[in-house]
């Protein structure tokens, strides 16, 4: 049983991530690097250790991933994509370095991905993959940049409303079944649009609190296994709806702490599995939302430290 939060080990784990060039996985995960830095940096920030990554080097790296069309790739040489553009902007925002890039050209890239007919948003300029993950990413990105007025928010809200299901939840696209990830992206976008009035609060809060399983962890859909990352998708959604107390916080805390690697640091999807920086952030962010471990408060809509949210021009 690992009942204690291993702050120092998690900090060391995140710091060590860029020194793993002798592991194949380091190279196989290059397509995620930009988000990896956002996950690591945010986790460090919530642990009060944001200076543990070299600020100037991080900013230079982010800049080196930008393309002439304004979008960012996951790594130098990787194509621009909305997911990594959001991560890039989040990193710069945490570092208070948004002036390192031209906000107008980034906003232009992001707004160009919206379909004017349906309001949905594509992930990149080459494909036609579009869902609420990208609607949320676009809205958060533009909101941080103070450029949300360049985006058709009303149309995007209409699209999200079409993703709503009979159980109060949201799928990633119209017609798809409710999924905690889709609930989070939909609620996040609706919160940024100030349109939470469209949500069936009681019904959705019920669906969300039923995600908690006897082991204390949360799953993403009925009859699925619990996973630490859903601690974040489900919990932040409950926080947005003001219903954090509809689950057993202590049991969830234990589930997350049990998923820690007590030797190397980091948090896994569940007890006994390999850790990664994605689950490390979402475990720590959930603990912050629950008010445990003396962590910095996290904003449930943006998954960023609350400390910097005052800088967003709403």
């Amino acid at each position: 049983m690992s009942s204690e939060f291993m702050r120092e080990k998690h900090i060391a784990y995140i710091q060590s991530l860029d020194n793993k060039q002798d592991e194949l996985e380091y190279w196989l995960s290059e397509h995620l690097r930009m988000s990896g830095i956002y996950w690591g940096l945010t986790a460090l920030d919530l642990m009060g250790a944001r200076d543990m990554l070299p600020r100037e080097k991080v900013i230079e790296y982010v800049k080196s991933c930008q393309h002439p069309n304004g979008g960012f790739g996951a790594h130098p040489g990787h194509d621009p994509h909305l997911l990594y553009t959001l991560s890039a902007i989040q990193i710069l925002f945490i570092q208070d370095a948004l002036d390192a890039v031209d906000a107008d050209i980034v906003a232009k890239f992001v707004t160009s991905l919206q379909d004017p007919e349906t309001g949905t948003v594509r992930g990149d300029v080459t494909g036609d993959e579009a869902d609420t993950r990208f609607v949320y990413a676009a809205m958060q990105c533009l909101s941080i940049l103070g450029k949300l007025d360049q985006f058709d928010v009303a149309k995007a809200v209409e699209y999200i409303d079409q993703c709503k299901n009979y159980d109060g939840g949201y799928g990633f696209v119209p017609g798809a079944e409710s999924h905690a990830g889709g609930v989070f992206t939909s609620l996040g976008a609706l919160a940024i649009a100030n349109r939470l009035d469209l949500v069936d609060k009681d019904l959705l809060s019920w669906w969300l609190c039923e995600r908690q399983l006897p082991a204390g962890g949360l799953n993403g859909r009925p009859e699925k296994l619990p996973d630490v990352c859903y601690s974040w998708w489900v919990l932040s959604s409950l926080a947005i709806l003001g219903r954090l107390d509809w689950i057993d916080r202590q049991k969830l805390r234990e589930f997350i702490l049990d998923a820690q690697d007590d030797e190397q640091g980091g948090i896994a999807d569940r007890k006994g599995d390999m850790v990664d920086v994605f689950h490390t952030l979402f475990g720590i962010a959930a603990l912050s939302l629950l008010g445990f471990e003396n962590l910095e408060p996290v904003n449930p809509v943006y998954c960023l430290p609350e400390r910097i949210m005052g800088r967003v021009k709403m």
Binding site: L24, S29, H31, N165, Y166, A176, E177, Q212, D227, D273
Partner: protein
């Protein structure tokens, strides 16, 4: 990493693994280098296409390489006849099928498959439907599979001008009969039934509702702890999506269902889903009748706090609202 077991390894084992991986890293980096250099040089030859095959087999998440692969294919298609394009796409679909079996949750593979079909001179939607049926046989809850299925159905309908609502409805029945606990299939039913009623106006909606309730009651009795069946039951009993019931009809339906759940509760006195459904339906019935809610509801909510303490606060809030 999702569901990868952590092993405790000695320094010696770790060292051995490092040594083993060192060679692989050199090979992998060289391959990546070759592919990215070729792209910089606008190399759209079949030789480079097969380099991307090797790379994507090793790392299907490398989205930039999928983009490059599409650039190469598009370039090759420009000089080819429709037959040659089709045969190239058939190869591509075969390659993708193998990738999907190995990585059924990788967005980029599903994405690339759609692109292939959109680029195909004569896409076989029938084959695609068979493929996704196979994928859902392997994992009945893979939401990528269900997304893809709805996409294939849409394309088939567009190509043939014929609705697939009826066969798709029957498909969800098959999935449900194989396993009642399939939230994905129940969900799809909530989307298909309203369309079915619109397209087959001769259908008796009341009878369909009765049939659905019969089916779900069987499912509930089979496993009263399964939440997907209760969510579907709630949709049937409370929504107007199937048929707009008069207030009296709704009350009758609620009373009938309450009675049936009460019978189940006698056999399963600690069933949380029985208790909360009863509390909910009785509350609804009271609202419809303009009466005070039955005192038994408070008892259900008290009991729920006891047997489901994780959600204690929800039952407290509910009790206060009554």
């Amino acid at each position: 990493m999702h569901s990868v077991k952590r092993e405790r390894t000695s320094a010696k084992v770790l060292e051995e693994r490092r040594r083993r991986e060192a060679g692989k890293i050199v090979e992998y980096k060289a391959l990546v280098d070759k592919v990215l250099t070729a792209r910089k040089n606008h190399d759209y030859t079949p030789g480079t296409l097969s380099l991307t095959t090797t790379l994507l087999k090793q790392n299907p998440e490398y989205y930039t390489v999928w983009n490059y692969r599409r650039e190469i294919l598009s370039s090759i298609f420009q000089t080819q006849t429709a037959d040659a394009i089709q045969s190239q796409i058939d190869n591509e679909l075969q390659f993708l099928f193998a990738r999907l079996i190995e990585f059924p949750k990788c967005y980029w593979i599903w994405n690339h498959r759609k692109w292939c079909l959109q680029s195909s001179p004569s896409p076989s939607w029938k084959f695609e439907l068979g493929l996704v049926t196979k994928m859902l046989d392997r994992d009945a809850r893979n939401f990528h599979g269900w997304h893809y299925r709805r996409y294939v159905v849409q394309c088939t309908e567009k190509a043939t001008g014929k609705s697939m609502v009826r066969p798709e409805f029957d498909y969800t029945t098959t999935k449900i009969n194989a396993n009642f606990s399939n939230f994905s299939a129940w969900h799809n039913r909530t989307k298909l039934i309203p369309r079915l009623l619109k397209e087959e106006p001769e259908t008796d909606a009341r009878k369909l509702l009765a049939n659905e309730i019969y089916l779900i009651t069987q499912a509930i009795y089979t496993d009263p702890d399964d939440q997907s069946v209760w969510l579907y039951h709630r949709w049937l009993v409370t929504s107007d999506d199937i048929v707009k019931l008069s207030s009296d009809e709704r009350k009758d339906l609620l009373e009938k269902e309450i009675k049936s759940i009460q019978e189940l509760l006698e056999v399963e006195p600690d069933s949380k889903w029985c208790l909360q459904s009863l509390a909910f339906y009785k509350g609804l019935l009271a609202t419809l009748a303009g009466e005070r809610v039955e005192s038994s509801v408070h008892g259900y909510l008290d009991k729920l706090q006891e047997i489901d303490p994780m959600r204690k606060k929800r039952y407290e809030d509910w009790n206060k609202q009554l």
